[in-house]
Amino acid sequence: MIADMNPEDIVGDYKEVTLKLFDGTSRRVLYTEIETPYPDGKLIVSTTDTEGVITHVNRSFVEMSGYSEEELIGAPHSILRHPDMPPVAFKDLWDTIQRGEKWQGFVKNLRKDGGYYWVKATVIPNVRGDKVVGYTSVRRKPSHTKVAECIKLYPTLFSLF
């Protein structure tokens, strides 16, 4: 369960929506049209347990998400879920990694301040002694072309799930 977003944390004019999350819970999110550009040369890295609860974040994750490390550790990864992301994308992600395979896609993430940032994300299962113990997610700077394609495509995918 993730706490609803706090209007006091939001920078700029915002919209409000209640998201239905993959685990069956819901969250009120507040979001703006302010984009934070992906920083050159950096990777955003996190690991989760098998339930998608964050167990490790690197400094770039903290900087780009706007949350403190303390707020992130123990939170579901869906704390970054932006309402413009179609649920089918995350269903595909979970279906893929639970088969033990690598997932890659372009994701619009939600910041604590209501802004957003686009990433190219890769998620892989962490296999230790033949057992999946969690997942590692690494995000890198996406191409403008790919992001532009996703901005057109993603609104058409909401009816699929």
Binding site: D40, G41, L43, T122, I124
Partner: protein
């Protein structure tokens, strides 16, 4: 038969003698016969690893997964404060100021350092460049990458950041950095193979204590390092997973 130690072929030429000194020091400390075998190219080294000829290796992070998962190597130590970072640079005269301005058909100069090339290609992705749409320009070392840029034979170059910083100031002045990676968690690792693993803890301790010893400090200096830090198995697994996500 002596054990065989090898070093990732991307070591700085300045430290060539340092690795021989280190090998002598290690033999003295472990009372084991260890032969240092150096390879000019990664492929030759990989062939030796596949043939189970290697017992100790200062390994490139790109090869860590193969060493651990296929050949049963385990991590010992890493050099404190050292991580592999890459730089994307163009000639100072180039009109390009951002990777996003590059287009398919760009001529990219790089060496065969696998982790640096991987990081570099990732930093070119924002320009929609990938292995399938660039024109590769292979170079034997980073000075030659720079020369390809200065002669107009390549549009961008991928450098190991340390090697770029070590270029002469005259060459660096003629180049322009577009991106410098800040990944921090990709590093070379000293690893131990199956035949020596019953001595893993002992050798790990010898290495971790190396900077407490006057002679040891001198040897470390000849390698350009300050000290060795122990690598836990999970830290190695994390780096392997990270490299796996990047190698896509």
């Amino acid at each position: 038969m002596p054990y065989v130690f090898t070093v990732s072929p991307d070591f700085t030429p300045d430290h060539l003698s340092g690795w021989y000194i280190f090998n002598t020091w290690l033999q003295h400390q472990t009372k084991a016969a260890i032969h240092l075998e150096l390879y000019d190219h990664f492929q030759g080294q990989r062939d030796a690893i596949q043939a189970d000829k290697i017992d100790l290796i200062y390994a490139n992070p790109f090869d860590a997964a193969m060493l651990v998962r296929e050949k049963g190597f385990l991590p010992l130590v890493r050099a404190e404060g050292e991580s592999d970072e890459a730089i994307i640079a163009v000639s100072a005269d180039s009109n390009v100021t951002d990777v996003a301005e590059l287009a398919p058909g760009t001529r990219v100069a790089f060496t065969d350092d696998p982790d640096v090339k991987l990081m570099g290609m990732i930093m070119l992705e924002p320009g929609d460049l990938d292995a399938g749409n660039i024109v590769p320009v292979s170079a034997g070392n980073y000075v030659l990458v720079a020369k390809h840029l200065l002669k107009g034979e390549a549009d961008v170059g991928i450098f190991l950041a340390e090697a770029f910083d070590d270029l002469s100031s005259m060459i660096r002045k003629q180049l322009k950095i577009l991106v410098r990676s800040q990944i921090s968690v990709i590093h070379h690792s000293l690893m131990i193979g199956p035949k020596l693993q019953d001595r893993r803890a002992e050798i790990q301790q010898i290495l971790v204590d190396m900077d407490n010893d006057e002679k040891g400090i001198g040897v470390l200096t000849s390698l350009g390092f300050n000290s060795w830090h122990k690598i836990e198995d999970e830290q190695m697994e994390f780096m392997i997973d990270l490299m796996d996500t990047l190698n896509t």
